[in-house]
Symmetry: C2
Subunit: 338 residues, 2 copies
DNA sequence: ACTTGGCACTCCGGCACGAAGAGTGCCAGA
DNA sequence: TCTGGCACTCTTCGTGCCGGAGTGCCAAGT
């Protein structure tokens, strides 16, 4: 077990390194933080911390830098979440309240988060797995051609064209529309399949083929919509990554272009609260020198999607976590209002 | 006027510099291209070209590199558009044909273009200014709440909620829907306002308020939709920009995040055919060391939107232009089919 | 009037060398 | 267990030097 002071030394190292981006030595530490011990003592502590794998030296006789394990300990035990100042909070709220539709909310959120954290922001569109159906509409565009429109409680609208196997009458269509809505409105997506399963039985055999097609399309839309989309922003902040950085930035940009990777990244974080993935804790190889801070957000009590930032492992964790948490909270509010 | 051989020298310089990224000297030139003159002669030509501002030296007694003006001449007079190989063409077609909807078409196009040119690709969604209305639908969701759905011939669907000043009957709604469609279907967006102007007169005074609201929303949707969206990809290719590049890449990433900038960039190119903007020809400051190759594409004879790539001024113009043109052509075909 | 070879000059890039600085490990003493 | 001191290690700069590549110009050749 590490003594209290050693933890304090680790904290100081992390803080200094985050600030200066340079390996930090024993002397500088005792000066900048008022540890009440001499450099020599700190050196002993550092040796112990290095032994345990919390810090490392880039080369012999250089200062120490935290390892992934060191950051992990820092985040778990040594650092809190730094709350935002109230002007910041007000700015967030004002900025988000100007949004006119869902796309706009997500767009503003991603810009806000990027600006606040000065890192790359990733915002997932509200997922539909937890969403409910607000309305289903069927339109006859032509005798054997329908349009299906699905409206969700998160404000998203999806539409699909349907080519029917046989023409369908207006009255039948109206009947179908009414029955469909009475069954599924207000229900969760996951419930819909079982709720509409026996619907064709209420209709003439002639129309069943068409109705099957319509239902199939509806279910398909629900499934497809669950494949979440996301928006990213603030990639210009990658240039602040490090001095070496063509090599660093490249794989990150590549990873960011692959939505699949990002979705997995956000999705893997099982904790309903905030999750911090540090360096190699990220599965994706290109992100092994980055950390991901993510959190769920939602309109009600449940999270409907996630948002987060991607930055260098050497980041200001308390500040970033504070910003991420605050933004998530306000976005949730905005979504609940609309 | 520059002699034939001097133009040849300029072409050789551009080609070599694009290949090697290093200033090119007289000796190397005579070796790699079989100019039938000695290095000394080439030196004289180079001095003349430099005098005219087509090439420059980074420092005294280094090789020459082309200036923006030099690239301009190269593109205008010295280089053609390099057609793609037929395997490439086939690959493009196959890749694009797999697309299932408009988003997918644009997404695939952007990835394709980025891969083909190894640069940053920008694809504008098909614009609606030239588009026509395929269908307008009105749904009564609640007594005083409607949904307007607009379907365009490019396959885009937009919807808006409408809160009516007064409840509206089903029959009136059906009447409105029918009249609206008979007037605007097949018409261009720009024509719609004048076509629906006198529509309220055909209805009872009680309903006119609501109908005005509906029409206003429709027109608003048309206008808003004309604000084009776009998709970008291949930002990881920015890492191949140059050795210096934190300074180069930063403003480019920033510019790419501002859709407004990009839209202006694409929009400014008035030429219906291919446009090449070289270095400082771009208005935006951050892009002064990049070139933009853009071209319109469309489903029929008319361009409905643009696509292009952003890369270093030192790029393979013939190849890039060939790829951009080919992709635009195939996307046009795909759009026409759907 | 061009073209060519020769020559002197310039400048960048790489390398070795040395000095300075920062940091470490370890040891002996408090 | 902490502290001060000391020797050692490594990186980082700055300097000086050299080779190579390229230029400009001039005088001679076609």
């Amino acid at each position: 077990m590490l003594s209290e002071r050693r933890l304090e030394v680790l904290r100081a190292i992390v803080q200094d390194y985050v600030g200066t981006e340079e390996p930090v030595g024993s002397k500088a530490l005792t000066e900048r933080h008022n540890l009440k011990v001499s450099p020599a003592t700190v050196r002993n502590d550092m040796a112990a911390l290095e032994e345990e794998g919390y810090i490392a030296q880039p080369h012999t006789s250089a200062g120490r830098i935290p390892t992934d394990k060191g950051y992990r300990l820092f985040v778990d035990k040594l650092a809190g979440v730094k709350p935002l100042s109230s002007p910041e909070r007000r700015a967030i709220q004002n900025f988000l309240e100007g949004a006119v539709d869902l796309d706009d909310v997500v767009g503003r959120t991603v810009r806000l988060l990027a600006q606040l954290t000065r890192q790359v922001a990733v915002v997932q569109y509200p997922s539909l797995t937890r969403s409910t159906v607000r309305h289903v509409e069927l339109l006859g565009l032509a005798p054997a051609r329908l349009m299906l429109v699905l409206i969700t409680d998160t404000g998203r609208v999806e539409q699909r064209m349907i080519d029917c196997p046989a023409p369908i009458g207006e009255t039948v269509l109206a009947d179908l529309r009414a029955r469909l809505n009475s069954r599924v409105v207000g229900e969760r997506f996951t419930e819909v399949p079982s709720l509409v399963q026996d619907l064709p039985e209420a209709f003439d055999a002639d129309d069943r083929g068409t109705i099957q097609t319509v239902l199939a399309t509806l279910l398909e839309t629900l499934v497809e919509e669950t494949e979440e989309r996301l928006m990213i922003g603030g990639t210009a902040n990658l240039t602040r990554f490090g001095h070496d950085f063509p090599l660093t930035i490249r794989p990150v940009l590549e990873a960011l272009e692959e939505q699949v990777v990002l979705l997995k990244l956000l999705g893997e974080a099982k904790d309903p609260g905030m999750t911090v993935r540090i360096g190699h804790e990220n599965q994706h190889e290109g992100l092994s020198s980055t950390s991901v801070v993510s959190v769920g957000y939602g309109s009600g009590d449940e999270a409907v999607a996630k948002l987060g930032v991607v930055g260098p492992t050497r980041m200001d964790y308390p500040g970033t976590m504070g910003a991420v948490r605050a933004v998530a909270r306000y976005v949730g509010q905005i979504l609940a209002e609309s």
